[in-house]
Subunit: 263 residues, 2 copies
């Protein structure tokens, strides 16, 4: 249900989103991630999707990822902004970040992006649930060392959300670029899991005089708060028009990603 | 800034939220989680908080957690509903869930709950950021085996969101309870990290004629969608009144948690 509400997003033209070594890609129009024990959706297999289109649409409409990695035998899970180009995911942070310090040498990583869509109130406790759309993407993290790729990635980190914004900003200094670590992960395995059916009670329970509902939730943009120290005469540029109060963030982010990568 | 907008939530009375063996707890009014290399906020240490009040408030106002664990050397990160009692976190799922199958024997777990509050558009790329409030909680997961604790936990899984709802439902069958796995984790370490300052540019950049803003985002409740197969005459019960269209989910969830645990 919810998936159908989404706009279909053109595949980004910046990279073609395919890796030629992917053996499952017999149909050039429907590239799919390899499925194995790591990413196969076992529980509720009908909720699992592996095609690039579904996985990438859910990534591109999200702003926040949860990045999981292992340090000293402990799983750590850190929220962070991220962006996708083709089958590569980027994120960034300070050189002194523990997450990034621990992700420089090809460590295994799981990146999870979740769209939380509803709480589901059923007629018994067992069928209480939630609608959601999530992606788990697996790969090995590597620092972006190449200066040109790093500069381009930092541009897209901003322009992925706000196309054209980097050109409106004070240019980054070499010191700033040096102080930033950009990490990338080529997606080796990925799965999307979607529950979008609202109330789903046992057949005999529908006859009971018990109230049940789907309670939708959405991440919504609030009124923009312009910086109190703005120079006089500085107006909000029109490339931010998509980010307006009351609009679902997902819509604005999806639109921006498509615009940023179609130029 | 954002933290101050939150309602202060009474500590739940169900458990007292303290573990007597915690050596940092010299002040009985301000219990705090132990801080060590696992949970110390290193990067931006000023954003770190370890007191129970801050950590628990962020947990209790969240609905969705990201649970991270290790399987065959890979970190896995799964979104799930969760709830807290004292210094214990619960979540649940089907017996056939991979997550739960892998969390039965005291495996290390990181539970991350994130409130995403804004995108921050600064005057240079380097200072683009986001406001957020997040908790990382660490411990070892265990299956809830005791039948009474399991039954109570499943009641609170529903009533934590919707106080009094379990009493309005068709009772759970033993078969349903048997088919459900409830997992708990005593919080051994935890930290909250809060960025709530909006635009923070370099001093000299404020003089530039560049637009900057804080763009707030919020998880908002939509219009409840009552089940199309509702029996005639069945009204929405008043214990759901807190969940009304347009209200931030965080407010409703915080209020419900406080009500569920203060009876």
């Amino acid at each position: 249900m919810l998936a159908k509400r989404q706009k279909t997003v053109r595949a980004p033209s910046y990279r073609d989103g395919r890796s030629p070594e992917d053996p499952t890609m017999s149909d050039a129009d429907a590239p799919t991630y390899i499925v194995d024990h790591l990413n196969r959706v076992k529980r509720r297999a009908d909720r699992g999707h592996y095609d690039h289109e579904t996985v990438h649409r859910l990534l591109d409409s999200g702003a926040l990822a949860h990045v999981s990695y292992i340090v000293d035998g402990w799983p750590l899970c850190t929220p962070t902004l991220f962006w996708r180009e083709g089958t590569r995911i980027y994120w960034h942070g300070s050189n002194s970040s523990r997450m990034l310090k621990n992700l420089s040498e090809g460590e295994p990583v799981c990146i999870t992006v979740t769209h939380f869509d509803s709480l589901v109130l059923a007629r018994c406790g067992f069928n209480h649930s939630a609608d959601y759309r999530s992606v788990m993407a697996f790969g090995h993290a590597r620092i972006v060392e190449d200066p040109e790729e790093k500069r381009r990635a930092l541009t897209m980190m901003v322009d992925r959300f706000f196309p054209g914004r980097t050109a409106q900003l004070r240019a980054s200094t070499q010191k700033e670029i040096n102080a930033t670590t950009v990490v990338m992960m080529d997606i080796e395995r990925a799965s999307a899991k979607i529950r979008a059916k609202g109330v789903a009670d046992d057949d005999e329970d529908y006859a009971l005089p018990i109230y049940a509902e789907r309670l939708p939730v959405r991440m919504v943009i609030g009124p923009p708060e312009s910086c109190p120290r703005l120079q006089s005469g500085v107006e909000r540029p029109h490339n931010l028009d998509g980010y307006r109060a009351g609009r679902p963030l997902e819509e604005a982010v999806t639109e921006a990603h498509a615009a940023a990568y179609s130029d």
